[in-house]
């Protein structure tokens, strides 16, 4: 290892070896539970134990043919897509505004905009429950979409804001000096450059909504139950292998999101390195 050429003394080597051993154990701790649950979803038996009695797709079949699970998957997608779209509009506008706005109140406004991430989910959920019930927004898709948008928007503001920070404002000025209207400059110069940032913001927003369960727990009626919500009640009652199938489906979605995110990051780094 090139970086280990400085490790000359035996004690340094031992310390480095210990770091590697501990880290490996921690990596196993982090990844093993997620890997362990996957084969169980392909089990032919109905107990969640190893060794598997045989392989079968019956639990996936169970998932796909169950109106309860399919309805929850559909709800997760509907609410996720809608709140992503809404938070992209609100978050991108705000990030653009915050990038230009100069005021001593800016840190305060920024703290307020980011606060939904930090405030415990139960507090937001209870507040929304009291606030939305009298105006008929509990037990409705609109209520959940609005709530998830509030949770997801900070991530959009952060990611888009970070992209804008590295954005060279001279390019917008150049466009203006060449006669582009502000809208045209945004569409043809700024937008293409910040697109990776927008895409990662959208991924964050979707992941936030897709994984959220506390607010759904308080606000969703039987019609609006999402995939995590169904898993929550499933885990409470008893864990059937169908839940492990749902878990594998959810994990697949996460892997796709993560891979897209990595791709975006790499592309961004290449652009930066090349430029």
């Amino acid at each position: 290892m090139s970086d280990n050429s400085s490790l000359r003394t035996p004690s340094q080597r031992i310390a480095w070896a210990a770091t590697i051993v501990i880290s490996t154990l921690v990596f196993i701790f982090l990844i093993a539970p997620i890997l362990a649950i996957m084969p169980l979803s392909f089990s032919a038996g109905s107990y969640l134990t190893y060794p598997l009695p045989g392989l079968s797709l019956r639990w996936y079949d169970d998932f796909i043919t169950s109106p309860r699970w399919m309805n929850s998957l559909r709800n997760s997608v509907i609410i996720g897509v809608a709140s992503t779209a809404l938070s992209m509009v609100l978050g991108t506008l705000a990030a653009l505004g915050l990038a230009q706005w100069k005021s001593r109140f800016k840190p305060l406004v920024l703290a307020f905009v980011l606060s939904p991430v930090v405030v415990p989910g139960v507090i937001t959920a209870v507040g929304l429950y009291f606030f939305f019930a009298p105006i008929g927004l509990t037990g409705s898709y609109l209520g959940l979409i609005l709530a998830h948008t509030a949770l997801a928007t900070p991530f959009v503001v952060i990611t888009v804001g970070a992209t804008l920070q590295s954005f060279d404002t001279n390019l917008a000025r150049a466009a203006a000096s060449l006669g582009a209207s502000p809208l045209e400059a945004f569409r043809r110069v700024i937008l293409p450059l910040i697109l990776p940032g927008l895409a990662s913001g959208a991924l964050f927003a979707f992941a936030t909504s897709f994984d959220e369960v506390v607010i759904v727990l308080f606000m969703a009626g039987p019609e609006q139950r999402t995939l995590p919500r169904e898993m929550f009640s499933g885990i409470r009652e008893n864990i059937s292998p169908t839940i492990t199938a749902a878990a594998v489906i959810l994990t697949t979605v996460s892997v796709i999101l993560l891979a897209t995110m990595e791709g975006l990051r790499r592309r961004n780094e290449r652009l930066k390195g090349g430029g």
Binding site: I31, G97, I123, I239
Partner: protein
């Protein structure tokens, strides 16, 4: 070109140009604010407003006032020393009759029972046995006969205290405090004093999880920051994949692993280490393991970014000046990681404080944290005042810690603790 005319020209246009620039800048600022405004309005409706509403419920106290309006009015002038006068008794009799007719007596009974155990019985028995309005001058005697509690001062101070419109009752209760018959703040009776213990438990669990995350996360962050970028990016998958995996999937996975017939117990049994399955879940151990798993990436990522920023030149300089490796690590490297340690620990601690789902699914009755009780009082027992008061205390703790966190990460990357 000589300098003189240029200076003259500048002097002529200086004032209007400055003013024009200022005006242009002001327009730009207004436009910038207009872009942020939609989000601010949106968050006011979907976040700040609801939370303000919840905080309001922690001090709002109008239930008794709505059910017993005349009684509250009659007690306004009562000094609380002796029993109230005949007028208050007559008012109460009138209110109880009216409340029974409209079916609202249970609302007041519930609220008064929070303050004085057994008040529900006092009020419902009175409502049941009071046939008609007492003759003038006999209300005190009539009510005292129906229920001797009306001859006790504490019954009346309880009503007066609950008369609203705002109260410190729920906030005091959330801190195991109450007001005695003379209105002084005293410790709550032991059977009701459960919340300080609950906050302590929430803090202890959060602190244990933070410590575990730091112990496990530090070597990993160090490894990732020390390896060449290509290799560390590859290993970063081990941190990011769990990070992006649904919380429910991870909690479910731990249940599958740790339950009595789960993978861990089966393996240990197969290896001959144990005869009886160990109890690994639905207890504190399970909560700590699952929460550490969920929150560990939030520790590793800020630690990693702070370690990445440490120049290896410092360590080489320390070595060239004769410092033994351990001394160099403790005195040069470690202090530079402290902002990352602080940020990561605070972030994990803040997130752990508000945890609900994981303890609810893998904890036993004695491992539930503050969020669980807020949810319980909101949806199950409908004690909204107490739920809101507990929420207010939790929110206050979170905000204070978040302010410290904000101070710590100032100057560091804003996204240090976030995904990506």
């Amino acid at each position: 070109m000589t300098a003189a005319p240029a200076i003259g020209a500048d002097a002529q246009t200086e004032v209007p140009l400055k003013r024009r620039l200022r005006r242009a800048e002001r327009t730009r600022q207004v436009k910038a604010l207009a872009l942020v405004l939609p989000l601010l309005v949106f968050l006011l409706f979907t976040f700040a407003g609801p939370i303000a509403g919840m905080l309001w419920r922690a001090v709002d106290d109008r239930e008794v006032r709505q059910v017993l309006p005349q009684t509250i009015a009659a007690l306004a002038s009562w000094d609380g020393r002796d029993l109230p006068d005949e007028k208050a008794y007559a008012a109460l009799a009138g209110d109880v009759l009216a409340a029974r007719a409209s079916g609202t007596i249970a609302i007041a009974a519930k609220r008064l029972n929070y303050a004085l155990n057994g008040f529900r019985t006092i009020l419902t028995s009175t409502a049941r046995n009071l046939k008609a309005a007492p003759e003038p001058g006999t209300a005190k005697e009539t009510l005292g006969k129906i229920n001797p509690a009306w001859r006790e001062r504490v019954t009346w101070t309880t009503i007066k205290d609950a008369g609203g419109p705002i109260t410190s009752f729920y906030l005091l209760a959330a801190l195991d405090l109450t007001r005695n018959v003379d209105g002084a703040i005293v410790a709550a009776p032991p059977d009701q004093a459960i919340y300080r213990g609950l906050f302590a438990r929430t803090f202890i669990i959060s602190l244990s999880v933070t410590a575990l995350c730091l112990i496990l996360g530090f070597p990993v962050a160090y490894l990732l920051a020390t390896l060449p970028p290509g290799r560390s990016n590859l290993l970063m998958i081990f941190v990011l994949l769990p990070f992006w995996t649904s919380l429910l999937v991870r909690t479910c996975a731990w249940i599958v692993l740790l339950q009595s017939k789960g993978v861990v117990n089966d393996s240990l049994h197969w290896l001959g280490i144990i005869d009886e399955p160990l109890r690994l879940i639905y207890n504190r151990f399970g909560v700590c393991v699952a929460m550490t798993h969920v929150l560990l990436p939030f520790m590793i990522l800020p630690l990693y970014s702070s370690m990445r920023a440490i120049s290896p030149a410092y360590m080489r300089a320390a070595a060239s000046l004769g410092a033994p490796p351990l001394t160099a690590f403790l005195r040069i490297y470690l202090p530079q990681t402290l902002p990352g340690v602080g940020a990561g620990s605070l972030l994990v601690f803040i997130l752990a404080l508000g945890y609900y789902i994981t303890p609810a699914l893998v904890g036993g009755a004695a491992d539930q944290m503050i969020s669980y009780f807020i949810a319980l009082y909101t949806t199950e027992t409908a004690n909204w005042g107490l739920a809101s008061a507990l929420g207010a205390v939790l929110l206050l703790a979170t905000i204070l810690l978040a302010l410290v966190y904000g101070r710590l990460v100032q100057g560091q990357q804003v996204t240090g603790g976030m995904k990506n």
